[in-house]
Amino acid sequence: MSVFNQSRSNIIRLIFIGVFLVIVIQLFNLQVISGKYQKLAMDNAVYPKRIYPNRGIIYDRKGKAILNNTIMYDLTVTPSQVKNIDTLELCSFLEIDTAEFRKRINDARFKNGPVRPTVFEDLLPPAMQAKLEENIYKFPGFTLVERPVRVYPFNAAAHIMGYVGEVDSNILKRENFFYQLGDYVGRSGLEQRYEKVLMGQRGMNFLIKDNKNRIQGPYEKGMYDTPAVAGRNMRSYIDVEVQQLAEKLLKGKVGAVVAIEPKTGGIIAMASGPGFDPNELTGPYKQKNFNRLFLDVSSPLLNRAIKGQYAAGSTYKPLGALIALDEGVITPANGIGCTGAYYSCRRPVRCTEHWAGHASNLRLAIAHSCNSFFSNTFRLTVDNPKYNDNRIGLQKWSEYLNAFGLGHRLGVDLPSEDGGNIPDTTDYNKEYRGSWNSCTMVTLGIGQDKMLVTPLQMANSLCIVANKGYYYIPHFINRIDGETKEDTVLNKYRIKHEVLSHISDEDYETVHSGMQDVVDAGTGRVARIPGINICAKTGTAENYLMIEGKRTQLKDNSMFVSFAPRENPKIVVAVVVQNAGFGATWAGPIAALIMEKYLNDTLRTERLKEVERVSNANLMPGYLVRAQYRADSIRAYNWFKITKDTSVIKKYIKKAGVKSDTSQLPQDRKAPVVKNNPLIKPKDTSKFRPKSRIT
């Protein structure tokens, strides 16, 4: 039998060889050809842990930290270790109920699994943290974890500093995946603009983890680890006390304050009203606060100093005078006779003064803000006989204003600045099909019509006037600690722009004198500070708004621009208070207080009362109440439509019983809330050219 079956031993050998060959081929395939398994193994076992350095600190011009870092605590939970704890006690510490507690535990289990820690409650309020710290031993599985948070010791400069937040997908794409989900990044303000400087250099620790993602120790003894480098501190031009004062003065008002050091372009203060405390958006209640601010129709989150666009009004007049002087169409000594209005065009441009001789020369005309004089001056500039063509005249005029930094973004070191608007010939050619003359847009001469400027632009144009022709791009950051040649981010703010130095010093002096007269004897006497020569210009600009589909004229915007001291300008201030009446009533006192605070470093005791008076004045436009009500009720209605939850809408229906017209509100959704947003002025103001009655 054995002989008979001899050949079968070879078949058995062949079977062995065959199976071994299959194994060898698969091993070759796995280990030599396919490269993906190595990466998979790394992903499995090596956990690249990012080390976040402290972000840089921002100091004011006197070395006080406006923006600093602090530690707050998150409560984390490792679900698998939670055993035999007094749930009720923990819930009472955290002020939640047991149902919420169970839900969060389940969420944590679902999100990160039972053996890894998950944030249970983030950014604990200090009182809660202290209570928990004492009792944490009672709750196995719960730990307090440090977390660096931004803090604002002066509760000021919210709009300037911006905030840090988690990256979103847009930023990830834009930055080419330099960041990772969960990273914190500057989302607005200086935090965003100087992100690269402030963030420092992230470090990387490679750690070994096991199959349950528990950390086992460093990978390859930390051979590939890189340490984190702290973010660099920055020194700014901001005077934090002035900033605080500006914000205090804008309380209860819609408007903006910008103060610039003209010699450097450094911004001393920039405030926007209504504002908010930056610490509101860092602590435990940040989401709640953010929602409140976000839903407020007066838009406290908006930085009106760079995003509010206003008709310049009479604050434009010094610029108009300089242009006309440089173009040679007027002389300082010549004036006009004004009897209360400018009648040369079809519609009269009214003037607040009508006594004889208030416009008999340039100085007087500026001091008393004569509308007739500047309407006339504008027409002379446009109809300049030198060019023999009003198109060239208007074009020249707009070029001058562009040189003054109006009509385009200045390039301040904050993101999303608005550019304002200076109309040129193409705008009017389009609108009037080429048939227009200097009368068509005569109110440009008093800063109305299509002219729109931001408070920052107003301040910057006055810097040029104060500097007699040059400016630096307004900016906040003076220098970065440990600055090297590679730090090019500040270079553009160190270039002197000699834009209008060709205007003669005499012309500037004339205008300065006129502006000084504004304070000494003219419209802006409220701004007088003993011992300092102040140059200023008031403004009272008409403004209109679409409210519920109707174009409504609102109370005039109160505006004020000034610089001081005249001989050696150290501060330029521009103030806008929306719908507050004459420039001298509210904007003037605010500017005066800010100049005094900055120049004298302190306020006289009798001026403190003035601070309180201005600060306590509530000048919020009345239509906001109604707009807020509309926005809220429409939201409630939409919420009701989605959820069928009547509790929210009931509130409004009840009120509707009192105010009969509001019952129709939900149907009236065709006029969306956004249009009624009073803060973003419609850009095309030409459709409702003002009846001119402006100072």
Binding site: I12, F20, V24
Partner: protein, 447 residues
């Protein structure tokens, strides 16, 4: 081993050295898989508390046992083969009243700290008994009756093993069909068996109706090509139709029946995992059963997860490997059961393709050596026994390694001489040393 001329005469030293090398590799691999930084090395190796020290102890016991076997007269094994077999079956039966449930198997009897797994040990006895039966002068292996008896010898312990939910170990007993094949079992049986396996796999992979159509087309084509022969022999047509009907029957009824009624849901799931299909439990109780089987494991840490991690471990070894104690996969518990069934991962990850090839080479050498030893035997008993050893070892290697590289379903059987486990190492050693003893006495004709 003492170099005593009396015992060492005729001993095949190649096998002895392969045994030593493989077992040492095993201890080293277990060490690599379970050693953690900071453990005391010396204490670790001699405390008998760590797995590698225990394996080292078993290595020693295996050596002593081997020496005893070498000292035994080879006639002893032929004489007592049937007795051993009876003892083995008795042990297997004893498992039912005396087993301890360990990790989902019911096949272990505990003696103090020592776990005895009779199903593991029994293959030695089956091998002896089968060799004894085949070498009997009265046995005419051409007769169907003898073939059935021989099959029964192998299959009875397999059935007992299945009843102890040790499907993997049961599978091993089928390796004895290779021995029977060598001794004259018709090749057709192996071919039919293989075809049946292909049919079952195809049933799982292909939509039932499509497979039925394919089978019909194949049958029709066969009839078409064999039409001349069929004209001559009408019977042939009948055979073809019968085979077709059988195949369709298997595909339509037998396999679904097996999967629904015979296999446990978790086993079905493992088979589905291997062929890369999603298994949808037929009802809630089946789903529950799978869940209970996977209880205590992380979500996803099922058969599929094991194979995936094992493939990652082996694949990430690349050509030269990460080095001993540097494998991240095997050292941080990503691969489950890595001391026992998935021990090959440690070698694949630590020593890469080269290391795996060396190990495969050693195994190949072992198998080829045993086959050539078998062929040089003059006694049928020794030859049958040698083939039995080769077949058992071969099946273990093939299934274990195929499982770790994703070619076979996850079946828990050890890698010979390398996997951690006392019973397994001892039974393989005994299996091998009896062969060495028998081979040493190959000149003795009559047995």
């Amino acid at each position: 081993m003492e170099h005593n001329p009396a015992i060492s005469k005729g001993i095949d030293w190649v096998l002895v050295w392969i045994f030593i090398v493989l077992t040492s590799v095993g201890v080293l691999s277990i060490f690599a898989a379970t050693y953690r930084e900071g453990d005391d090395l010396i204490q670790g190796f001699f405390s008998l508390k760590t797995d590698y020290s225990k394996q080292l102890l078993y290595f020693g016991i295996a050596g002593i046992l081997g020496t005893f076997i070498l000292l035994t007269d080879s006639k002893f094994f032929t004489a007592t083969a049937n007795l051993w077999y009876a003892f083995g079956i008795l042990l297997l039966l004893l498992v039912f009243p005396f087993h301890t449930s360990v990790k989902g198997t019911n096949s272990i009897i505990k003696f103090g700290s020592f776990n005895l797994q009779p199903a593991e040990l029994c293959k030695v006895f089956v091998n002896l008994a089968l060799a004894k039966y085949l070498s009997r002068v009265e046995t005419d292996f051409k007769k169907t009756r003898s073939q059935l008896v021989a099959s029964a010898i192998a299959i009875v312990p397999a059935i007992l093993a299945v009843m102890q939910s040790e499907t993997g170990l049961a599978l091993v007993y089928f390796s004895f069909f290779l021995v029977m094949f060598r001794e004259g079992l018709p090749a057709a049986i192996l071919i039919v068996g293989f075809s049946l396996a292909v049919l079952v796999v195809a049933t799982l992979l292909i939509e039932p109706n499509i497979l039925a159509v394919i089978l019909t087309v194949v049958a029709l084509l066969t009839i078409y090509f064999l039409r001349r022969q069929i004209k001559r022999r009408r019977q042939l047509l009948f055979y073809i139709v019968t085979i077709w009907a059988f195949c369709v029957g298997v595909q339509r009824f037998a396999v679904p029946f097996m999967f629904d009624q015979v296999f446990q849901p978790y086993q079905v799931k493992r088979i589905y995992d291997t062929i890369g299909k999603d298994y949808v439990p037929k009802d809630a109780s089946a789903a529950l059963e799978i869940e209970q089987k996977n209880k205590g494991k992380k979500k996803g840490e099922t058969g599929n997860y094991n194979v995936k991690q094992s493939k990652i471990a082996i694949g990430s070894g690349r050509i030269l490997g990460k080095g001993l104690l540097s494998g991240t996969q095997t050292r941080y518990d990503f691969v489950p059961e890595q001391r026992t069934d998935f021990i090959f991962c440690t070698i694949g990850e630590g020593f890469g393709f080269v290391g795996s090839m060396v190990l495969m080479g050693i195994y190949f050498l072992l198998l080829m050596r045993i086959v050539s030893i078998a062929e040089r035997q003059r006694s049928v008993f020794s030859r049958c026994y040698a083939y039995g050893v080769a077949s058992v070892i071969f099946l273990h290697i093939a299934i274990n390694i195929c499982m770790t590289i994703g070619l076979a379903p996850v079946i828990g059987i050890p890698l010979p001489f390398i996997s951690y486990g006392g019973t397994a190492l001892l039974s393989f050693s005994v299996l091998l040393f009896i062969l060495i003893r028998l081979d040493a006495d190959r000149q003795m004709v009559l047995r």
